[in-house]
Assembly symmetry: C2
Homo-oligomer: 258 residues x 2
């Protein structure tokens, strides 16, 4: 619709849900499945796309799953679980955490090995087949993102960015938003500092977490129950970077709420 | 592109930045300006659009501004300001707050009269003309959203939802995301609880803050410095509601981080 003679008169991007992704099994060729699904619905990847993949299918393909039957709960897990929770589930949450941030009213907020702070270390039973399976976060979500990005480049010949997203709660606000736990090929933060506003005033504190905002946009089409675990954000300019999503994690020494 | 015979094969929405909004002055007819800008760039509003308006232009139009010269700092403001900050600025932050949540390392995290928890009660000098003016949050952002929504319905004959957005920091994570501080005509939360996933498992804790995610998507095109204070999210289904953005504010008794 636009070309050099007719540049767009306004900024615009599209958020496209990718349907047709089957139930993912351990060891599946996830990049191949994603490529086929995007092509199958007539929206093959293009250079510059941001491909957002929900954590759950990445973890399943990588085998980041635990059988409850294999878990022996520790005394601490038994105490925390009480009569309300499965102590084996609590045990897995504790194993995935390096620190407990809050433990109240049946809620366990932990810091994961990645440094992410979230409920239950991101350990989850929903969308996992079978009653005795738990899904963990990918061991290294940036590496997961890079593998998918590299495979798309090799097999489809196009250069995209990849974000691995997950659904997190927030202090002070009801409801979850999807955020970026892994990135490849996109700078997760956009630094507006030093830029000037319309009045020539230099912006002081203004670093936008664009990868989190893109993951949230993807959630709006992904809808947990309708099987859209992959989303394309198309037409949104971004800064290319290999720094990964860790730069979004606030250093403990700079955090007022740990 | 789609009709009853050819339903879309995949979910998709567009995020369209509205350019051409001039510098807003106190008393300006903001709905009229927004309508003209959207029409002027060839994207007039359509039924079902979500129109996202940044707080700053709403506050300016409503006159939610304070001249620093008119502010007499209290002893507390003088103490907090120390030698690093303007005590009049701190005084305005304190007046806009009903509680100080954290006060460390030059950062003042407060709870506003609306119940929002953010840095400096949302009081801000950037994008405000003149060196002696501060911009406050709108007194009642839901009412601001309703006024814009109603005016668009009356003047353009189309039914849209309106979100007033602002830029907030988060605990644990670097970088800001835009969130919804006021809403009209859209349910800010989407409740997935009770729905079943692909394996027939009932989703337990799953309420998505869709208004926050939409505001974040808008920020991606709004870009602080290029003068895009209005964004259209088009093609995204949402639940119509008059409940306003207050439902996104977590009750203090349910909050582990106040």
């Amino acid at each position: 619709m636009t070309d050099a003679q007719n540049p767009p008169r306004f900024p615009e991007f599209r958020v496209i849900g990718v349907t047709g992704v089957p139930e993912i099994q351990v060891g599946d060729d996830l990049p191949g499945i994603i490529l086929a699904a995007a092509e199958g619905q007539g929206t093959p990847f293009e250079d510059g796309d941001i491909v957002i993949v929900t954590q759950k299918i990445v973890s399943k393909a990588e085998g980041a799953l635990v059988h409850l039957a294999d878990v022996e709960p520790s005394p601490l897990a038994l105490t925390i679980a009480g009569e309300m929770k499965d102590p084996r589930h609590v045990e897995v949450v504790l194993r995935e955490s390096r620190r407990i941030v809050r433990m109240e009213r049946g809620v366990l907020i932990t810091e994961t090995h990645h440094g992410l702070i979230c409920a239950n270390s991101g350990v989850d039973a929903s969308n996992v087949p079978g009653d005795d399976m738990l899904c963990l976060l990918p061991r290294d979500p940036n590496a997961s993102a890079r593998r998918i990005r590299d495979a798309i480049r090799e097999r489809a010949g196009c250069t995209v960015a990849v974000i691995i997203s997950d659904t997190f709660g927030r202090p002070w606000r009801v409801g979850t938003t999807d955020i970026a736990i892994g990135c490849a090929g996109i700078a997760p933060l956009k630094d507006y500092r030093g830029m000037v506003d319309r009045d020539g005033r230099t912006l002081q504190v203004s670093v936008a977490a664009v990868a989190d905002e893109a993951a949230g946009a993807a959630e709006l089409v992904a809808r947990k129950t309708i099987g859209v675990p992959v989303t394309i954000v198309r037409g949104l300019p971004y800064d290319v970077s290999e720094e990964g999503a860790d730069v979004i994690i606030r250093e403990a020494s700079m955090d007022l709420f740990r």
